[in-house]
Subunit: 546 residues, 2 copies
């Protein structure tokens, strides 16, 4: 049979040491200068970090938290703890304070590595952190600010003086390598434990020629934060393939990104669509920048939400920097699907191809996707019938950390992850995410996408803001109601006719409420929950005749 | 933690069914016509095959043998048995009869699938096959020749009438999927058991952009036989990625391959170097074929031995069909290393790059390679010092089937496979296989490559044939002796001076024996063993003073 070979993150590190020790890791520092070193240098410091964890007395499985932007010390923390059989917990500094307290306590982080600029995020909650024994500021002694955190040291002192080689332990591939929390729209964040095996397989898939094809010859810049969905897996993929990696640090404003792309000749960059829209606007408005400024990019990766068709066209034709999409989530490390221009798709017209490229893509090799209706029954892959995206992959979580209730609610009896996303799948295998299950409107056994209606309304010239919610209905169970901030002169009849051009009659909202403003959550999203509660307390449910 | 997800070959099949059911599998038939069907068609027949195995009473783990060239029915046999939890044993019809008897009995094949043209290979040994219950000729009833084999049926009858869908079992990833024998230069063939897990990982690696980058948009033609080293893994890789596959059947002569490459627009083709030399010769000598005839090929894959530099140049410049190399062996499924033109290598001169491309390449992602000397001590990776190639990979065998002695001799105590190949590794990570360990000459603790001396001698204008053996030496343990078939007028002194231009003095053979002919084995290789035995019986060992 096959030899006993554990799939581990350590093999990434060793491959970079053996074959790519001369390749660069570049970080944009806060002061505008650049930190440059090699995979060989990083390896030595990662070994020092592992020794420091030994010396501190971190046992196998013990966790350290890290609250940081994308830079070389954060990169080192992706490896030092995991490869020495501990785990690293990436903490999103943007979470509300009570969430931070909950997750750091739940993870039982003993050490907390923190960027100087995030020290003041921790200070107000430090008294509530039950397990943290030591704060380590990510910098040298000069970078440690005046702080109430205690005890506190700096990263450079923490790792200084240790041996630059390390005898990595044999780690069972099912061991936790990292812990990452996902924030749903409701409830407390839920922990996802990554394993060495899962990360190995995710990383191998990432470089598949029909996924992101990350090669040794690439220069990869993850703008997506390393504290979020595992940095899209790029810290691992670049290391395994020996690609040059460019970390933008605090310089994630589109203004700052353009010169970095130019100077470092970035070939692959990953960010949410708004970043690329803003980059486009800046180039448009600039007198100095010409469209060739982005043409080292051969893959502009977008995730999180769908790019507008006009953006896809423009990046293709003007910037010669083609956009492709990835679809995933924290639970999936995060990758599940991506744009794949198959031989069949190549036969389609340009506009049909663009339409497909706006979708989430086809399942990556190793991923199985199915659509299920409310009763768990199969939904046809006809490009029209929506169903919940359920997935299996060897890098997908099988549970939420210490949350049997959430686990029970999110995994089927036959072992599939219930993503909560509602999508269609077309004849080309393309997944089109149309809504979140929580936001979909269940009308008489059929589903209506609140997001599609919302996007259509927002696209109308006379509409300033709009959102669509589902409200209880005596006959149909749920029906859509639209809240619209209208410009002068807009009528409900205009909106109804406008929507009828794109949607079946039964999709049309039963009511259009014209309001001065749509209430928003603290993160700026439409607060649908508040609207639903307000509607129900005022009207109860919609009567049959309406 | 990560979900329970077994890595299986079944997922390849299901992916092709779900996403690529319209893509083609093309076979060149013996009569010159072409058989075309789709992955969707193949899936249905593979389901029928699995039902037929059920009906026959094949238990989990039971093996079927197959003796066939590359065609669609052979392709179906790569999946039907494995995915239904049985195993398939690919049999090399070129083995000597007593080897065939040994391995078919050892594998305990219950069914034997055989091409019509190989029926007469089996007839003489059928009485000695202890476990075979049923012969199945790969064709329909008309294809079954008059034969003494009994009982005999045809493949189309065997699978006819069964359901075209199948409820595939959950298979543990460590389950044997296939069995393949490797023939060393000495002794009986040794069995290598492939597992579902190993094949999954090998297949994922195969499509890595820095390995063979096999994409959905490729048209792949494995000329390398599917009964040998697992068809280089291509039957699995094409299925997982949805690439069109072209199977040349019996048409593996370079004359036949050229029109197939043209007609099917093949992009990746894999064969031994002699095939590509012959293709070159045919195009050169033809009045009808122009150099553009090969330019659909973007990857001409070579394995088994090193291509001459002139061939690499010519395929680059004249045919625009670049050659790259793979290095592997049956035990490794087979892939271990390949040409990788890194950013560093791109900086070298063209001739330096060509020199690297003649080497076996760099370890593929997931592969670890080390060099060890006779005492098991590390050998520097300086491009000069030879050592035995030892390897680890998740798809590498951990043992030989039912051969504890061979296993003991080929795996180190710390779990590395001892390949028996002697190589150097240079600063770019490129492995250069210089000899087989059995053929290397151990002189005073240093190694002399018999193959390098031999190739140099053969390259001399005055030499018709030459081989170099190691003979016992009273002081140096072993020393080289050359056997040369000289043209008129050649002197030993000429040869010594010629070799001194390329090798250190201590590499030079102690004796040059001029002979009329070098003895050869039945497969046409120089019979070094006979020469060594003859030398020893005549001279014993070389004395100290010589």
């Amino acid at each position: 049979m096959t030899m006993d070979y554990e799939l581990t993150i350590t093999t990434f590190l060793e491959r970079a040491r053996d074959l790519f020790s001369h390749k660069e890791i570049v970080t944009a520092l806060p002061d505008g200068s650049t930190h440059r070193y090699t995979y060989g240098d990083a390896y030595e410091r990662i070994c020092q970090l592992a020794h420091a964890l030994d010396e501190y007395g971190m046992a196998p499985g013990d966790r350290s938290g890290v609250m940081a932007v994308n830079h070389f010390r954060h990169y080192e923390l992706y490896f030092g703890p995991s490869c020495s059989e501990r785990s690293i917990h990436m903490v999103n500094h943007r979470l509300p304070e009570h969430h931070l307290v909950t997750i750091i306590n739940e993870a039982a982080d003993r050490l907390l590595f923190v960027d100087p600029q995030f020290v003041d995020v921790l200070e107000p909650i430090a008294d509530d952190l039950e397990t943290v024994e030591q704060y380590v500021v990510l910098g040298d002694a000069d970078d440690v600010p005046e702080t109430s955190l205690s005890p506190v040291t700096d990263y450079e002192s923490f790792i200084a003086g240790y041996d630059t080689d390390y005898d990595w332990p044999d780690v069972d591939e099912e061991t936790e390598s990292a812990l990452c929390y996902t924030s749903g729209t409701t409830g407390l964040p839920k922990g996802v434990q990554y394993t060495h095996r899962g990360q190995f397989l995710h990383t191998m898939m990432h470089s598949h020629v029909d996924v992101f094809a990350v090669s040794e010859s690439d220069v990869v810049m993850p703008v997506v934060p390393m504290f979020h969905v595992n940095g899209w897996g790029f810290p691992y993929t670049t290391t395994f393939t020996g690609a040059k990696i460019v970390l933008p640090g605090q310089h994630t404003d589109p203004d700052d990104l353009i010169p970095i792309i130019q100077d470092e000749e970035v070939t692959i960059a990953a960010a949410v669509p708004t970043v690329w829209m803003e980059v486009d606007r800046i180039i448009e408005e600039s007198d100095d920048l010409d469209p060739g400024v982005l043409n080292t990019l051969h893959d502009v990766l977008i995730g999180g939400s769908s790019p507008p068709e006009s953006l896809i066209r423009k990046y293709d034709e003007v910037y010669e920097a083609p956009i492709s999409q990835g679809y995933g989530m924290t639970e999936a490390s995060p990758h599940l699907a991506n744009t794949l221009v198959t031989t069949e798709v190549q036969q389609l017209s340009e506009s049909e191809q663009d339409r497909l490229r706006m979708k989430a893509g086809v399942p990556a090799p190793g991923v199985q996707i199915r659509l299920r209706d409310e009763d768990g029954e199969p939904v046809p892959h006809d490009g029209e019938t929506p169903g919940e995206v359920q997935a299996r992959a060897p890098w997908l979580a099988g549970e939420y950390y210490e949350r049997p209730d959430a686990t029970e609610a999110s995994f089927t009896d036959d072992g599939w992850f219930m993503s909560g996303d509602v999508a269609t799948i077309d004849e080309y295998g393309y997944i089109d995410v149309v809504d979140r299950l929580d936001d979909v409107i269940k009308s008489g056994g059929e589903w209506i996408s609140s997001i599609e209606l919302e996007n259509a309304l927002i696209g109308h010239d006379g509409v300033a803001e709009a959102t669509v919610i589902g409200v209880p209905h005596e006959k149909w169970q749920e029906r859509p109601v639209a809240y619209v901030v209208p410009d002068d002169g807009l009528t409900v009849e205009t909106l109804r006719e406008y929507l009828l051009a794109s949607f079946p009659k039964w999709w049309l909202p039963d009511r259009f409420e014209f309001v001065d403003e749509v209430p928003k959550t603290t993160t700026g999203k439409f607060d649908k929950k508040e609207l639903v509660e307000a509607f129900e307390s005022e009207y109860g449910s919609l009567p049959v005749e309406e």
